[in-house]
């Protein structure tokens, strides 16, 4: 699609807490909320802002691996648990690994474009703390090619995939500078998360974050080129947002200013069974962002803020280059110069991103859209940044697997 045939907006975002290690409330051996509670909390949070379930035409839920983490399938049938008023309505569940949330957004967008819905309730959810990390790694490895890659893969499959990428990147562009940039990325993420009460790292009190993040990786117990601080944590959580047309906005009593308009989007699919050849770059991300920016009619220089998919710090750095904010190999300098910090030229992941806010996989894409909505409509709390009037655009990039399934969306405050 070259341009939007109809205006599409997002509004009324609601995040649950991203729960897991680091949160004071979290105790691995104590009972915790499950899928049902998270879906309900997030869904009701959004419904409350849009006048209830009667305003909704359709529900979409994004989730990666509830079938294994929670032994639960048919998640679409949990949507009506949010509100009785959603029963008998059209609902869908989508899955694309860690891009499941982004795919859910796109399903909502497409429904509004197709005029099969004026108001779509979109939810993302994942509850992962049901198993220890060593078994969670098996489940998350499902985002890779099981038959072709799992047996030869590392115990910590995805950390190792991105550790391998980091190794190649170090080799090509230099380790020392990149290692420092990864540590800075971590620090920025935690400092942002400390401002956002729903973030998993909200309670983080560590003093010297960069020194901590410079810890040497230990391949005997983990992976070769990354340490624990380079990785997003195991998280439980949900996020919900309403995707609406102009008439939908009227129906829910929301002004355009209180919404963001979707100006461009792209969903780009790579082949799961084809190995990555240039591990130092995120080719699929590049393609998705390029398409979305083109559709919106802007360039990366116009972006006021970005929600990037930093499942690992190295993915954060590489995404800068994929988005076109800097040249290949210059991502580390871009970060070390402060450009991605909240006071920088292009603040990234202002509520903490995957490293700081958390990564409840199926919810992440939706959470990213909510953060952009909060920033562009002035609804962010203590984590609010200044958006330059000359660069009023936001971008979210949601990645599934090893740069395989990509969703990129460009936003601007409703006019």
């Amino acid at each position: 699609m070259k341009k939007m045939r109809r205006k599409v907006f997002m509004t009324a975002g609601y995040n649950t807490i991203s729960m897991g290690t680091g949160r004071k409330e979290f105790h691995p051996k104590k009972a915790r909320p499950g899928l049902e509670e998270y879906i309900k909390e997030a869904g009701q949070g959004t419904l409350k802002m849009i006048g209830g379930a009667q305003a909704v035409d359709e529900g979409v839920i994004g989730n990666f691996m509830a079938a294994r983490f929670n032994h639960q399938g048919n998640l679409t049938a949990l949507i009506p648990t949010i509100d009785e008023g959603l029963r008998w309505k059209s609902c869908t569940r989508v899955e694309g690994a860690c891009a499941s949330g982004g795919l859910a957004l796109l399903n909502g967008i497409k429904s509004v474009l197709a005029q099969t819905a004026e108001v779509a309730l979109v939810i993302g959810v994942e509850v992962q703390n049901t198993v220890k990390a060593v078994y969670g790694a098996d489940i998350l490895a499902g985002a890779g090619w099981y038959r072709g890659e799992r047996k030869t893969g590392h115990a910590f499959f995805f950390p190792a995939k991105f550790s391998d990428r980091a190794g190649v990147y170090f080799e090509k562009f230099g380790r020392e500078r990149t290692r420092r940039a990864l540590a800075r990325w971590y620090r920025n993420a935690i400092e942002n998360a400390r401002l956002c009460p729903s973030a998993q790292e909200y309670h983080n009190k560590s003093l010297d974050l960069e020194a901590l993040a410079m810890s040497e990786p230990n391949p005997r117990s983990f992976v070769e080129h990354l340490n624990f601080y380079d990785c997003s944590k195991v998280s439980d959580g949900a996020a919900a947002i309403a995707i609406v047309s102009e008439s939908g906005l009227k129906r829910i009593g929301c002004s355009t200013k209180e919404a963001v308009e979707v100006l461009g989007w792209a969903q780009v699919q790579a082949d799961l069974t084809v190995p990555v050849t240039e591990a130092f770059r995120l080719e699929t991300t590049e393609r998705a962002v390029k398409q979305a920016l083109k559709m919106a009619g802007i360039t990366s220089a116009d972006l006021g803020t970005v929600e990037g998919h930093d499942c690992f710090t190295i993915a954060g750095i590489m995404s800068l280059e994929a988005i076109g904010l800097c040249k290949p190999g210059e991502g580390p300098d871009f970060v070390l110069a402060g450009n991605t910090s909240r006071q920088g030229s292009t603040p990234f992941n202002t509520s903490g991103g995957l490293i700081g806010w958390g990564h409840p996989t199926g919810a992440t894409g939706v959470h990213q859209a909510i953060t952009i909505w909060e920033q562009l409509t002035g609804k962010a709390g203590d984590w609010k940044i200044d958006i330059a009037s000359k660069r009023p655009y936001g971008l979210s990039v949601n990645m599934g697997g090893n740069d395989k399934t990509l969703v990129a969306i460009v936003y601007r405050q409703g006019q």
Partner: protein, 449 residues
């Protein structure tokens, strides 16, 4: 016989007990590692887990299952390599399940002592009674044609006596694990004069593979660990008697326990430690040690009295603490036993009064757990004990005297020839008892100047 050959057929006696089950676990893991080497795959590895109690053996297997799983989860990166040729094992969970099965497959629980007759290596972790140990070891030695090696886990009985009385011809040494063996890093190594040197070489490799810190102790009853612990306890018991001129039994127990824990920065107070070890075990150790130190009174009528009243301490099979000097709620002391009233008195009723009498801790105080994690621990300890020295409260005075006595015991272990050097004494107390500092230090001697 090579290291591997020696470990092909092993027996653990007392396998259902707390120490025995830990030894079974660690040894089975080591044997499993050996069995997975290409050159060893055709040979069976067998660990006879022998105990007189069916009930104890029934508890052993679930314990092993849980512990092996933890080990597998921790070592998953390496295990994926070990099982890389197994096409059917793909996920971490597949590999962990296979590893558990492989380790458990080595262990044969049995109540028949005859199972040890084919072993080349015998670990002994049975009751601390020289007559019983002698009888069992001698019986195995007589019936076993392999001239097996005996590793005793005794914490107190001199190894040369076991060697002589059971007629083992120097095929024995003391290999004293700390409780629980799976967790504690320390092993005390005790060789009798007659111990064959091959056993020591093997012990060195075995300890290294188990990632244990081995500290040698001379062959004197109690060795270093209990040599210090028992005398430390007897001093504390004497303090109860001294304090009872002013306060009740329960108050004295509380105050001395607090001084030995908080004021001295130890992981637990002395009476809580007795409960952890078991009052009955402490009594046994004292009984074993007593005849060897004729100039010292190593007997505690208080322990006898408490045990006679059924107060024994020790742990439940799940590791939770049984009541002893203290009653425990969620593994924390909640009440103190009073032998006169034959019942427990609530801690809450006497705590604040006792705390007032003891006076405050030094202002720089940090709990033991924080202290051992400090990067500049030595500097902290110097400041802390410097401040303690300047305090004149009852608590500070008791702590200073307690620390000095602990130092005296450490030096006594050296002068009696139990320990070979100061650093060995300190290593046992810091690694085996997790003290933040060794007993032979200058923190209290400076105080005395």
């Amino acid at each position: 016989m090579t290291y591997t050959e020696r470990l092909r057929n092993v027996s653990v006696l007392g396998a259902g007990g707390k120490m025995g089950s830990g030894i079974v676990l660690l040894t089975a893991l080591e044997m499993a590692d050996l069995s997975q080497k290409a050159e060893n795959r055709s040979q069976p590895f067998v660990l006879q887990a022998i105990d007189i109690s069916h009930a104890a053996l029934a508890g052993l297997m679930p314990y092993l299952q849980v512990q092996i799983q933890k080990v597998a989860e921790k070592n998953i990166v390496r295990l994926r390599q070990v099982y890389q040729e197994r096409e059917d094992l793909i996920e971490n969970s597949d590999i962990i399940a296979q590893y558990i099965a492989d380790v458990l497959n080595i262990v044969r629980p049995t109540t028949a002592l005859e199972a040890a007759y084919e072993s080349t290596m015998i670990f002994e972790a049975i009751v601390e009674n020289i007559a019983v140990k002698t009888k069992v070891l001698s019986q195995i030695n007589t019936n076993n044609l392999n001239s097996p090696w005996f590793f005793s886990n005794t914490s107190a009985i001199p190894i040369h006596e076991l060697d002589e009385k059971a007629g083992l011809g120097g095929r024995i040494l003391g290999f004293h694990f700390y409780n629980p063996p799976a967790v504690q890093k320390l092993v005390e190594l005790i060789s009798a004069k007659t111990t064959q040197s091959e056993l020591l070489d093997f012990a060195g490799s075995y300890a290294k593979n188990l990632r244990k810190t081995m500290v040698p102790a001379n062959d004197f009853a109690g060795f270093i660990g209990n040599g210090h612990f028992m005398r430390d306890f007897l001093y504390a018991k004497g303090e109860i008697e001294r304090l009872q001129a002013e306060v009740t039994f329960a108050e004295a127990v509380y105050m001395i326990n607090k001084v030995s824990q908080d004021f001295l920065l130890r992981p637990m107070g002395i009476f809580q430690l007795c409960d952890y070890v078991g009052l009955d075990v402490c009594q046994l150790i004292l009984r074993v040690m007593s005849p060897y130190f004729s100039g010292e009174n190593l007997h505690s009528p208080l322990l006898d009295e408490l045990i006679a009243q059924g107060v024994r301490g020790g742990q439940f099979p799940d590791g939770s603490q049984k009541d002893g000097f203290f009653k425990y709620e969620k593994n924390r002391p909640s009440a103190i036993y009073d032998p006169k009233q034959k019942g427990y008195l609530s801690l809450a009723d006497l705590q604040s009064g006792c705390d007032d009498s003891l006076g405050p801790l030094p202002t720089v105080f940090q709990p033991w757990k924080a202290v051992i994690a400090l990067a500049d621990k030595d500097a902290f300890l110097k400041t802390y004990f410097g401040e303690l020295q300047a305090l004149n409260t009852l608590g500070a005075q008791m702590a200073k005297a307690y620390g000095l006595r602990s130092r005296e015991i450490g030096l006594q272990l050296l002068s009696q020839g139990v320990a070979k050097k100061e650093s060995d004494v300190n290593a046992v107390l810091t690694t085996g008892f997790y003290h933040a500092y060794g007993p032979i230090n200058n923190y209290f001697s400076e105080v005395s100047k």
